[in-house]
């Protein structure tokens, strides 16, 4: 018999997933005055990182100020995580399995009635919001509330022209597809970006493209997007799948600069403080 201690956060441990160490950089931030609320898992976007998407943008400081414990993960091939050679390491399903193990190792526990710090809240941006959507939909026992930033019901990465990108990188042949060209520019601009790893991620996403309708999160959802984010056209389609969602549109902001918006942080923090 295991004694029930009533504690819903376990000690930090480290496990392999499906027999391999995902080699992901995990950072856990402890607030000075912890709120009686679950930890918050942060999932960054394509060609971004914990440092860019969450630290320098002021998110981690804002969440810590709100008393939230923060679990932040660099996706494979991003930030300080390793860049595995095999494409399977980048598949969304593998990443979701890694995130579940990481959250559990960092002390997140399944939602338990009467224990306000049980469960896990998730904030994702861009590709991270796709992962957050699927993670919430497939892990209802642990995921309590979800914030989706800059989401899209389609997957811009799935329509990525990999051959054109490879040709461009090899000899500079211009990329015709506008979305592909934008993503390559983003990837090249990303500090310390490993283009080989980013293309592996694209390849893996093409094998498992986002199908928002396939698994729909039933939790409370907050959707936030910049008014000038070109993905905002898809917001209605997404909202139709999660009618319970609150939607916040940030005036004047685009996909890149919506990340730092105070209104985004304040709305997310208030939404995630609800019981």
């Amino acid at each position: 018999m295991t004694m029930m201690t009533g504690r819903h956060e376990g000690p930090a441990t480290h496990h392999t997933v499906e027999g391999t160490d995902p080699g992901l950089n995990v950072q856990v931030f402890e607030p000075e005055s912890p709120a009686e609320l679950p930890p918050v898992l942060l999932i960054h976007g394509f060609a971004s990182s914990v440092a860019l998407n969450w630290e320098q943008s002021g998110w981690i400081a804002a969440l810590l100020d709100a008393g939230r414990r923060v679990i932040a993960v660099d996706l494979p091939g991003h930030g300080l995580s390793t860049a595995p050679e095999d494409v399977d390491s980048y598949s969304p399903s593998r990443i979701r399995a890694d995130l579940l193990q990481i959250a559990s190792d960092a002390g997140a526990r399944p939602i338990a009635a009467g224990h306000p710090s049980s469960g896990l809240d998730v904030i994702g941006y861009s590709l991270g919001s796709r992962l957050a959507w699927e993670f919430g939909a497939t892990q209802p026992a642990i995921v309590r509330r979800i914030v989706l930033g800059g989401p899209s019901p389609r997957d811009p990465l799935a329509e990525f022209d990999l051959v054109a990108a490879q040709r461009f990188l090899a000899d500079g042949t211009p990329i015709e597809d506008e979305s592909t060209a934008t993503l390559v520019t983003m990837a090249q601009a990303s500090p310390g970006s490993d283009m080989y790893a980013l293309l592996s991620l694209v390849e893996a996403v093409k094998e498992e493209p986002f199908d928002a309708a396939e698994a729909v999160p039933r939790q409370p959802v907050l959707v936030v997007a910049g008014e000038k984010d070109e993905r905002i056209e898809g917001l209605e389609a997404l909202h139709a799948l999660v009618p319970q969602a609150q939607v916040l549109v940030l005036p004047g902001r685009n996909h890149v600069n919506a990340v730092t918006a105070r209104a985004f942080k304040q709305a997310a923090i208030a939404f995630l403080a609800e019981g």
Partner: protein, 109 residues
């Protein structure tokens, strides 16, 4: 009391300028060290600049949408005379160094 200007710091990665998105403080505000001052956008990302020190905000340079070059004035603080000699720097961790692959090696297995 003395005036202490704080120029737009070197944002790394060869960035030479940033666009002001939103001020998070106003002239006349008393701010604490590390308190977010301003949201700026570079060609690569948007970020919040924390205050290098505590003091009263005397003047802000640049309205939302204005471009400020690295080294140009961003904000002026009023500080006690004995601290004015300290030049402000952004309190940030050293950027993590990591291997950079400049082009994809597509023949690699």
């Amino acid at each position: 009391m003395a005036e202490l200007p704080f120029p737009l710091p070197d944002l790394g990665e060869g960035l030479i300028e940033a666009t002001v998105l939103d001020w998070l403080v106003a002239e006349g505000d008393q701010v604490e060290r590390n308190q977010p001052l301003v949201e700026v956008e570079t060609t690569k990302s948007s970020l919040e600049l924390p205050s290098p020190q505590s003091g009263k905000v005397l003047k802000l340079y640049g309205a939302p949408g204005d471009v400020i070059k690295v080294g140009e004035p961003l904000i002026v603080f009023e500080v006690p005379d004995d601290t004015a000699g300290i030049v402000g720097t952004v309190p940030s961790e050293e950027a993590p160094k990591r291997r950079v692959r400049l082009s994809a090696n597509l023949d690699e297995d």
